[in-house]
Subunit: 430 residues, 2 copies
C-alpha cells in the first residue's frame, strides 16, 4: 500500500483513477457464445456445459430431489445463520415498498403513480470456489418482496453436475424454485433470449467474471435491462486515531481478498495512524488463505494523508466508493456529508462484512465510481413505476386550453387537435 | 393502418415486434465526433457548430443578455401557459420525494437509507423546427426539486447564433442558468467529458436524433449514466364503442405526427369501431401541417381486433407502450391490470397531449418495450440512495457470530476476520 501525503487537489482525479478495462477482446469471445445460445438454445447450453464445466447434462433445471438432497448437506448452524440474514435483509427491504401517489394537480386533473413489479427477472450466481449464496439472498429477497412473477436463477454446476448445496438451500428458502445449471456468458444469453429450460426475462441481475460482465453489457445494448454496470469491488476507509489500526487493517484485507483487481483506499488525517495500519496489515495478511490475492490487490492500493476532515470528505466524494467505512471521532457529523458512496459503515463496530451478509442493507452496490449516479440494488431495482392521468370533462376544460397553447408553440398541431376536438365536443354537448 | 382480426396468441410477439434499428453506421460517424470533443474541447465544439449549424460562435454559453432578450419575445399568454404547466409538473414531482428510511433490523444494528441528489446532471434539448421547451420542463423541474447542484443544458442554436427564445425563457423560469449552444453528438460528448464551457456531468438526460441517441449509448458504456435507452415514440389506444372515434383518431394522429418511425397501435374488441376510427383518421389527417410524416407513420401501424378485454390487456402488456390511452366502459376495472406501460391515460378526456405538456406526469418515458423494466423520468432519476449501517458493540455481539459463519461458508476468511478481531477486542475489553 502506497502512502501519499497531502496531495494537491488538482492531482486527486489522477490519483483516484480506477484502472480502465478494455472489454474488446472479451467481447470477441462472448459474441459467438450469445449467438449460439440464441440459435441452438438448450442444445448450446449443453454443449457449453461440456466444454467449459466438463459435465454432460441431461436435465438443465435443478430438480426438487436435488434441492431436497442439498438441504441435508447444510449444517443446522449454517441454516440458522442464513435464516437470520434473511430476516434482517427482508426487514430492511420491506420498508422500501413505496405507497401509491395520487394527486389532483388541477381541479379535475388526477395524476397517479404506482409501483409494479418487473414481471420476469433473472438472477445470475457465479459458481467456483466460493459459493456466493449471499448474493442469492441479496437478489432473491427483494425480487420476492417486489412481487416479480417469474424469477429464474442460473448458476453453474460442478463436473458431477451438482450445484453448491448452500446455493440451493438458500434459493429454496426464499422461494426460488426455478434454478438452472448454466454459468458464464451463456447463462446471460439464455436469460436474455430464452431457451427451452431458461425463460427469457426482462432484467438480469448478479455478479460474475469478465465474460459475464461483458455479456450483460452486450445484451443490455439490445433492450434487456441489467442491474448496474459492474467493476471490481472496492472499499474506502476514513479513519483517525480513535479507530483501531487492527480493525482498519482487517477491513482493508477483507476487500483485498476478493480479487487481485480489488480497490482499497485508506484516507486519514493522521500519518502515524496510517503507518500503524500498514504494520497491522503486514501481520494479518499472512494468516489469510487468500493472501496471494490480497497482496496483489494491496500493491495497487493507496493510503492518502490529508489535512482535515473536509479534505477527506471531498476526496471520498470524488472517489465514490462502493463501500465506505468511517471510523473517526466526528462520525455523526460527517455521515451525511457523504454524497457519493454505495453503502456506508459507521463507527468502530461496523465492518464491511456485516453489510456483505446480514445487517439488512443490500450488498449489490455501484463500483467504479458509479455511486455518483447509481444506487445499490433495492426494491426499486425490481419494480418500475407507471403514471396515470384521469381528466374529467371539467379537468379538460381547465387544462385543455393550456395544452393547446403549448402544443401550438411546439408546432405539433396533432397534439393540439387531440385536445381541441374534445373541447369542441364538450362545448357542443353541454 | 392495417387491421388484424383476432390474431392467435402465438403470433402476437411477431405482430407487435418493433423495427430493429442498427446503430453500427451511425456509431461510425459519432465515434470521431466524441474523440474530437475529448481532445479539443471547446475548440471542437466551435468547429462542429460551424460545420453542422453553420454558425461561428465566439461565446458558447448563452449570456444573461440573451436570456433577457428571449423573454421579451415570448407572449404573455404563452408565458402563463408555461407557468401553469410548471406548477402542475412541480406538484406531481414534489410528492415523489421519499423520506429517509431508518430501521433497527436487530438490537444494536441500525440501517438507514437516504436519497442524495446526483451532483452534476446534463440536459440535452434538441433544436430544429419544433423547439422542445416541454422537455426543458420535464427534465429541469425534477432536477431542481431533487436538488442537483449543477445543471447544464445543451441545445443547438440557429445560424444566427440564437437559441429558441421559448427554450431560454423556460430554462430561466425553472432556474437553469447554464445554457450552452451546442447540439448533436458533440453536445453529449461535451457533457460526458467536459470542455471549457460545458462541465462534465455524471448523468445525461434528454431526447435527440439518432446521432444523439448513439452518442448517449456510447458514453453510457464508459461510465456516464443516461436517463434511459431511446426509441421512436409510441402510443397504444385501447378503445371500445363507448369511445369517440374522432377522439381516438386524433390521439393516434398526435403520435403519428412525431416522426415517420412513430409507433401507433389500436386495440379494440369492436371491429366496426375500428373502422370508424380509420375513417376519422382519413378525414383528420388532411388538416395536419405534418400530414406527410403522419401518413408514413400510419403505414407501419396496426389496429388489432380482439375477443375480449382480457385479450386486449394481455396484448397491451406484451407490447408495453410508452403511452397507453384506455377509453372503454370498464376503464376503472382495467387500469390496474396494466403492468407494462410508461404512462396511462384514462377515459374520454385524457388525450396523450395533456401528459406531454401539463397534467403533471413526466413525458420522458420508456419506448421500444423498455416499459417492461424501466420507469419514466421522475425524481428517482435525479437521485441515488445511499445505505448506512451503524452497529453498537452490542449490535456486533448479536450479528457478528452470524456473519462469521456466513463468511466462513463462502470461504472468505478476511471477511470473517474483520468481525472476529472486533469480537475478540470486545471480549478482552469488557
Amino acid at each position: 500500500m502506497k502512502i501519499i501525503k497531502y496531495p494537491e487537489r488538482v492531482d486527486w482525479p489522477e490519483l483516484l483513477a480506477r484502472p480502465v478495462k478494455d472489454f474488446k477482446e472479451i467481447k470477441k469471445i462472448v459474441k459467438p457464445i450469445i449467438k449460439k445460445v440464441r440459435q441452438k438454445r438448450d442444445k448450446a447450453l449443453r454443449k457449453f456445459a461440456l466444454e467449459y464445466d466438463h459435465v454432460e447434462l441431461k436435465e438443465l433445471q435443478v430438480s426438487r430431489q436435488e434441492i431436497y438432497e442439498a438441504e441435508k448437506l447444510v449444517s443446522d448452524e449454517l441454516k440458522e445463520a442464513v435464516k437470520q440474514a434473511k430476516q434482517n435483509i427482508t426487514r430492511f427491504h420491506e420498508v422500501q415498498i413505496e405507497k401509491e401517489l395520487l394527486l389532483e394537480t388541477m381541479p379535475g386533473v388526477v395524476c397517479r403513480r404506482r409501483s409494479v413489479p418487473i414481471q420476469k427477472v433473472g438472477l445470475y450466481i457465479p459458481g467456483g470456489t466460493a459459493p456466493l449464496f449471499s448474493s442469492v439472498l441479496m437478489l432473491g429477497i427483494p425480487a420476492n418482496i417486489a412481487g416479480c412473477e417469474q424469477i429464474v436463477l442460473c448458476t453453474p454446476c460442478n463436473p458431477k453436475g451438482k450445484v453448491n448445496p448452500l446455493i440451493l438451500y438458500t434459493a429454496n428458502l426464499i422461494g426460488i424454485d426455478r434454478i438452472v445449471k448454466v454459468g458464464g456468458a451463456q447463462a446471460i444469453a439464455a436469460m436474455a433470449y430464452g431457451t427451452e429450460s431458461v425463460p427469457a426475462v426482462y432484467k438480469i441481475f448478479g455478479p460474475g467474471n469478465q465474460y459475464v460482465t461483458a455479456a450483460k453489457q452486450m445484451v443490455s445494448q439490445e433492450g434487456i435491462a441489467i442491474d448496474m454496470p459492474a467493476g471490481p469491488s472496492e472499499v474506502a476507509v476514513f479513519a483517525d486515531d480513535t479507530a483501531q489500526p487492527a480493525f482498519v487493517a482487517a477491513d482493508l484485507l477483507s476487500q483485498a481478498e476478493h480479487g487481485v483487481d480489488s480497490q482499497v483506499l485508506l484516507v486519514s488525517t493522521n500519518e502515524s495512524f496510517v503507518k500503524k495500519v500498514k504494520t497491522e496489515i503486514n501481520l494479518q495478511i499472512e494468516q489469510l488463505p487468500r493472501k496471494d490475492i490480497a497482496k496483489k490487490a494491496l500493491n495497487n492500493s493507496l493510503a492518502v494523508v490529508v489535512h482535515n476532515n473536509q479534505d477527506a470528505i471531498d476526496i471520498l466524494n470524488l472517489y465514490a466508493a462502493e463501500h465506505l467505512i468511517i471510523s473517526i471521532a466526528e462520525v455523526d457529523q460527517v455521515a451525511d456529508r457523504i454524497i457519493n458512496a454505495g453503502s456506508v459503515f459507521l463507527g468502530n463496530f461496523s465492518p464491511e462484512s456485516v453489510g456483505d451478509y446480514a445487517s439488512g442493507t443490500n450488498h449489490v452496490l455501484p463500483t467504479n465510481g458509479f455511486a455518483r449516479s447509481f444506487s445499490g440494488v433495492s426494491i426499486d431495482s425490481f419494480i418500475k413505476k407507471i403514471t396515470y392521468q384521469n381528466l374529467s370533462a371539467d379537468g379538460l376544460r381547465n387544462l385543455g386550453p393550456i395544452v393547446e397553447k403549448l402544443a401550438g408553440a411546439e408546432q405539433l398541431d396533432g397534439h393540439k387537435n387531440a385536445v381541441s376536438i374534445r373541447l369542441k365536443y364538450l362545448d357542443e354537448n353541454n
